[in-house]
Assembly symmetry: C2
């Protein structure tokens, strides 16, 4: 596991101290600041080379073109569709980004409202507002909503309208809720269109969905109320950002006019990051629909490649349809998890085949995993965990459910 030790050595310079104290520097302040920043860039470059466990695209070199904008404060305070009296804003870029998503999600420009957010969570908060009674619905092994459980809970709450938070791509398993089946369940339980509101949390898959051969997973042509997508996931951005989009008729109820800014205050935060809109606008332009489609195709293929390599090696693993997220058994070594920047839940971990993750990186990863696994489990003398409950018996390679030994595929 030589790479892991190297990785730790390379970034130690940034991990010895908890912080870079401000004002401890003497005469050569500027030289010291430059040194800290250059070291930090090296640290980030090193980390990016083996960052597998998160839904972020790290291929961002083109965003350096936006450097000249760093000398401005750009603040899109308030409603994106109203000019605010603070003139240093980028709302034209923001509206362009929203127009692009309106077309993608099949809603007429004059029927929709939305804004560029700081990330998915803010969009979800806005989409669902706050402080409501909450009922949790069970999920299937794939991670998607269990519509039988939904039906039961709906029947118990027929007196109230239903606000439903759907996941179009869950974080951990990449599970996609079946929108058509949810709507059918609502109708069968007697909830008419005016008595339910569906918010789609499409953090990652919002930009995958339109480029699938099977057609998109959701659109405003179906009775949904709002969608939230992250800009720093598939598309990629130097900072967290995203888009929230809803139908105009919903937003008018929570808007209030703020005279001070001569604009409408209907977003969670007053001041908003104007750079985020430009970053999204630029990346959408540089890539275009064709580039995104190619990214999606490549990522789907790479995820399948990884799943196949893991299965060949007798490692319990699962890949949902139309997903980049390969779920498999959790490595028992924290150093290994840290080096490959994996994230874990219970017995599971996952690798997300984002655009910066090449076949070469995946090969290195599988080779490292198989080699280390032989040491962890003493060449099969210790049993790796059973993952049947988490990912299904079909995907489990343990001694009970699996077909082969640890050495399969080696």
């Amino acid at each position: 596991m030589a790479k892991i030790s190297n990785g730790k050595d390379n970034c130690n310079g940034n991990e010895k101290k908890d912080s870079f104290a401000i004002e401890e520097f003497g005469a050569d302040r500027h030289g010291l600041l430059t040194k800290i920043l250059t070291d930090f860039e090296d640290h980030l470059t090193e980390k990016a080379g083996h960052c597998l466990g998160y839904h972020v695209n790290l291929d961002l070199n083109h965003l350096m073109d936006l450097s000249p904008l760093l000398r401005f404060h750009i603040n899109n305070v308030g409603d994106p569709f109203k000019d605010s009296s603070f003139s240093m804003h980028s709302k034209k870029f923001e509206v362009s980004v929203l127009d692009w998503f309106a077309q993608l999600w099949e809603i007429e420009k004059d029927e929709c409202w939305g804004y560029v957010t700081n990330g998915g969570t803010e969009g979800n908060l806005q989409g669902l507002l706050l402080g409501m009674d909450c009922v949790i619905i069970r999920t299937l092994t794939t991670g998607e909503i269990d519509c039988n459980d939904l039906r039961e809970k709906l029947c118990l709450n027929k007196d109230k309208p239903a606000i439903i938070n759907l996941n179009i791509g869950t974080t951990f398993k990449g599970g996609v809720d079946n929108l058509d089946l949810v709507i059918k369940t609502l109708e069968e339980c007697g909830f008419s269109n005016d008595r339910f509101y569906i918010h789609c949390d499409a953090a990652l898959s919002g930009l995958i969905s339109p480029f699938l051969e099977q057609g998109p997973m959701f659109s405003f042509k179906k009775p949904i109320g709002s969608v939230s997508v992250s800009g720093h996931k598939l598309l990629g951005s130097s900072m967290p950002c995203g888009v929230l989009m809803t139908k105009k008729k919903y937003i008018t109820t929570i808007s209030k006019n703020v005279e001070y800014l001569n604009t409408l205050d209907n977003t969670i935060s007053g001041s908003r990051n104007g750079l985020a809109s430009i970053f999204m606008w630029y990346s959408l332009n540089v890539k275009g629909r064709l580039g995104l489609q190619q990214d999606v195709k490549k990522c789907l293929m790479n995820a399948q490649y990884l799943r196949d390599r893991l299965k060949d090696a007798g490692i319990s693993s699962m890949l949902n349809e139309m997903s980049f997220v390969v779920v498999f058994e959790r490595p028992p070594n924290p150093e290994f998890i840290k080096y490959w920047n994996l994230s874990c839940e219970g017995n599971m971990t996952h690798v997300i085949a984002m655009p910066h993750v090449t076949v070469k990186i995946l090969e290195d990863f599988v080779n490292d995993f198989v080699r280390e696994r032989n040491i962890w489990y003493r060449c099969g003398r210790i049993q790796p965990p059973c993952l049947a409950e988490e990912i299904g018996t079909y995907n489990c390679c343990c001694s009970i459910h699996g077909k082969g030994s640890l050495q399969n595929g080696n």
Copy 2:
């Protein structure tokens, strides 16, 4: 008013269309994108030269040094004091920024908790949480809290604990609530320390307060619970950002562990902008306490200069003690307001003497205002509005309360 026409002509290129449609470009996509961005930079540069009405520092050239960081996605998800398993974060910079503010606001490092926010509003939401019963307290002419009204309202609500949102520098008038008087009022009404919580909204003045000759307006040595300050106001940043700081004992109640990220989720948004911490860290280092002190001194002097010039010209105006915000009569011409990027409330407007606002700009502004005012009010044959109620009779120059004519000082 030649400048106003010029300003409009210069930026028209960016205002003719509502958006920059994505994917309408042909072969020379990159050239067109560069052209749009270069035009937008020119537009921002032009606007920055006469942007007077907002609390943002537009002197940001030094932030171009951070350009190399744009090629990374830096995301400080979750608690700043816990390493998260997503490795591309800048929490060391964030903690350095927090340490700096802990010292500034007189709280021991191991007693405080906080994070770098996307701006003041997010900090205020977090500081006060959501969904509480709300009682509005009246203000004095200066904009600060009326402690007699506070006393009355406290007496009516003795059965409940009090959560108080104090303004250390109101947006419109720069009014500063008297913290000592508020605490005294609470005590006199029978509210012991464990039955009140004070949040200080110190968006602008949080960074002015420590550098005043009279000593700071607040600190954690007094019984306050949390403070929120903006990073893009006095300090300056390419994007909205800020700091929220509270006592550790308060945050533990709302924290919950998210295994997926191996960190604590106790901020409003999950993902957070890692660039913001580096931008604040860099500016604090480049300026240092001495630089900020010099900025505060310069801005206070420039605000006084503007107030004096307006008074000399017979224009109703007010400047609170230790404030950069000069409040005066609202110009009746929307074009004038737009050109100087003023913000208005009722009969009032204000100019904020931020670091990028030089004496030369203020001179140009006063000359333009006085010249145009003679036209608007036909050399005194029409009366400008009386502002006695808004800013006090002493500050009002109207025909009833004022001493001179419009021509004073010309």
